[in-house]
């Protein structure tokens, strides 16, 4: 018994030691595991040039969600909502009670209200994780981000911060470098964009701080800190990786979707109703 217990104690000690060693390997930074640093542009900035795209389900709902049927039954399984783990840190959006109720209303009426259906520019941060690529063109004084969806575009001023002349769909972006990260302060966004197809929303008091950080040659970590005191009880954050489009001939194509939305927006004003297309419900 004594011997056995001593043996056992010994083996537990061994396991403990091995565990501790493993633990320290995982926790302690070693030179091989130093954070990734992007190659530099010729002027010494992290090189974020490229065509990027999210590969997640945030555009359906930024919160964790199980799969559910889409709003147009005739489209069946092809256009229903895939399950997603969510991109909101902590999983929950800190809505004020009346704002939470409005999100539910938005969801119920999403076929009528979702600005994506109408081909309106996606705003920030939604444009980042819509299922379309976007391209970062990193100039010296300005960084341009061109989005395929609705041809939206942002000009990020990297010089002394400037003030927006007016509210807009894509907002007003002042950027700077913080070590390896491009940090963009986005203000003067209008209240007409959503965060997703689930009706998660914001007001015109929205203030977004974005961080783009390379985590590998072909991936960026994207973080957006969301502040909107009219709608939320506190700041909250979403984060997700973005992936480089690696096709050799990758390029931004046109998704000028006005044509695809005209029937939804103006079809009721046609001289002759369109026959046999779409859901007439």
């Amino acid at each position: 018994m004594g011997i056995q217990s001593a043996k056992m104690r010994g083996s537990w000690l061994l396991v403990g030691a091995a565990g501790a060693a493993l633990l320290s390997l995982a926790v302690l930074p070693s030179p091989a595991q130093a954070p990734y640093k992007a190659p530099k542009t010729k002027d010494g900035k992290p090189n974020l040039n490229g065509i990027w795209q999210a590969n997640n389900e945030a555009n359906w709902d930024i919160r964790p969600h199980a799969a559910y049927a889409g709003p147009v039954y005739t489209l069946g399984a092809a256009y229903s909502t895939p399950a997603g783990l969510g991109v909101v840190e902590g999983g929950e959006i800190p809505y004020k009670p009346e704002a939470a109720a409005k999100q539910k209303e938005n969801f119920t009426n999403r076929l009528k209200l979702d600005p994506e259906i109408k081909c309106y520019m996606g705003g920030v941060p939604r444009s980042t994780y819509m299922p379309y690529p976007f391209q970062i063109v990193q100039g010296t004084g300005h960084i341009m981000i061109a989005y395929e969806f609705a041809g939206a575009v942002r000009d990020i001023n990297m010089g002394a911060p400037t003030k927006a002349p007016a509210d807009s769909w894509m907002g007003w972006s002042n950027g700077h470098w913080e070590g390896e990260s491009l940090v963009v302060d986005v203000t003067s966004l209008n209240d007409s964009t959503w965060f997703d197809r689930a009706g998660n929303w914001h007001s015109d008091a929205l203030h977004v701080i974005e961080r783009y950080t390379a985590i590998g040659p072909d991936a960026l970590q994207y973080e957006a800190t969301i502040d909107d005191p009219k709608v939320f009880t506190r700041q909250w954050k979403m984060s997700m990786p973005l992936y480089r489009r690696l096709e050799k001939n990758a390029q931004l194509l046109e998704y000028k979707c006005v044509e695809f939305a005209e029937e939804v927006l103006y079809g009721h004003l046609r001289k002759q109703p369109l026959q046999g297309k779409g859901d007439s419900k």
Binding site: T41, K42, D43, N47, N49, C119, Y120, M121, Q135, I136, V137, Q138, G139, T140, G141, H142, I143, M144, A146, A150, G151, A152, V153, D155, T162, P165, A166, S168, W169, M170, S192, N249, Q251, L252, L253, E254, K256, V258, E259, A261, E262, E263, L265, Y266, G267, L269, R270, K271, Q272
Partner: protein, 343 residues
């Protein structure tokens, strides 16, 4: 550093070579280049000419040369330019007084771009006096002795006539029957070739590694042009702004565009699947980028034509022109048409 100077000397030589033929056609030219002031081509960190910035391509130079100027490609001086304009206005006023043509071109179309005036541009700060422009003694944007676009081939003219006839008969039937500009799909000036507009003639150029991006304020139309030597995309993919690839020839950015959406118009002509447009961007001084273009579409025009203007650096910004998002006019017009039918 010495290399940079050498490059800019070569650039100047190239520019003057390019400019020489048109100088030969007109005795007096645009203002002489400020050669006295030593100006060095600014370069991006990777050594390319730095074209970046916000520009205006507003101009008082008309697209087509006024007929009374014949083959005169440049005015001798600002004084001569003013005198000829005044004489033309007087003739037109005289005609109007006798009950003749009451629309002197210059007054009805001050920007010379064919836009019907329906806004008070001055009131919105969009008028001629509020836009910064490059002074130019050119008599027309279209270069060459004719100074106007060549004749359209009969087949191309028929396409336009058929479209127009259909549109006139059905113009208020649906949103899809309205012109592309009203639908906020393309204004028609974004090109390529990019043409000055009556207002919002603002664009921004940003250069990244292997790409040049150009945003035009009109409908925030953006081209991200690869300069990494790749070929055009598949011919199946037609685009509203065409499919542009670029390369550097010395200090000039040369952009070639094909694969246009067949509904696009260039100078009122339909764009065929054979259309090819070449643009050349050359920074010529601290404030100015010279823009040249050639349109070659053998299925639409009897011969290619070329044009040229200068864009001038402005402080900006490029405003967000959320055309579609704010298109209340579309619904209002259509509901007006439906109401009229019920009367």
């Amino acid at each position: 550093m010495r290399r940079c100077v050498l490059f800019s000397l070569i650039a100047l030589a190239v520019v003057s070579l390019v400019a020489a033929p048109m100088f030969a056609q007109a005795p007096v030219t645009a203002k002489p280049a400020p050669a006295a002031k030593a100006w060095t081509m600014p370069r991006t960190p990777d050594g390319k000419p730095d074209l970046q910035g916000v520009y205006s391509n507003a101009t008082t130079v008309p697209v087509a040369r006024p007929a009374n100027l014949g083959a005169k490609e440049f005015y001798e001086s600002e004084e001569e330019k003013a005198a000829i304009a005044a004489a033309a206005a007087a003739v037109a006023a005289g005609r109007a007084g006798r009950g003749g043509a009451a629309r002197p071109a210059a007054a009805a179309d001050p920007e010379g771009n064919g836009l019907a005036v329906h806004y008070d541009n001055g009131q919105f700060g969009l008028g001629g006096s509020s836009a910064k422009r490059v002074a130019s003694l050119r008599t027309s944007i279209i270069t060459g002795p004719e100074g106007r676009v060549p004749a359209m081939l009969p087949e191309a003219a028929k396409i336009i006539a058929d479209r127009r006839a259909y549109q006139q008969a059905h113009q208020w039937d649906s949103a899809q029957n309205r012109p592309l500009a009203e639908r906020c799909i393309t204004w028609g000036f974004e090109g390529p070739p990019m043409m000055p507009v009556g207002y919002n003639s603002t664009l921004e150029i940003v250069q990244g590694q292997g790409y040049v991006a150009i945003v035009q304020e009109m409908i925030h139309d953006t081209r991200v042009i690869p300069t990494d030597g790749r070929p055009h995309g598949p011919a199946e993919i037609k685009r509203w702004m065409g499919d542009s690839v670029g390369h550097w020839e010395g200090d000039t950015l040369v952009v070639e565009t094909v694969n246009y959406n067949p509904l696009v118009l260039i100078q009122g002509g339909p764009v065929s699947d054979a259309a090819k447009v070449i643009e050349r961007f050359t920074r010529v001084d601290a404030d100015t980028v010279q823009y040249q273009f050639t349109v070659d579409d053998p299925k639409t025009w009897v011969k290619p034509f070329s044009g040229e203007y200068n864009m001038v650096h402005i402080d900006g910004p490029v405003y967000e022109y959320a055309c579609h998002e704010g298109n209340y006019g579309m619904a209002n017009n259509l509901s007006g048409a439906r109401a009229t039918e019920k009367k």
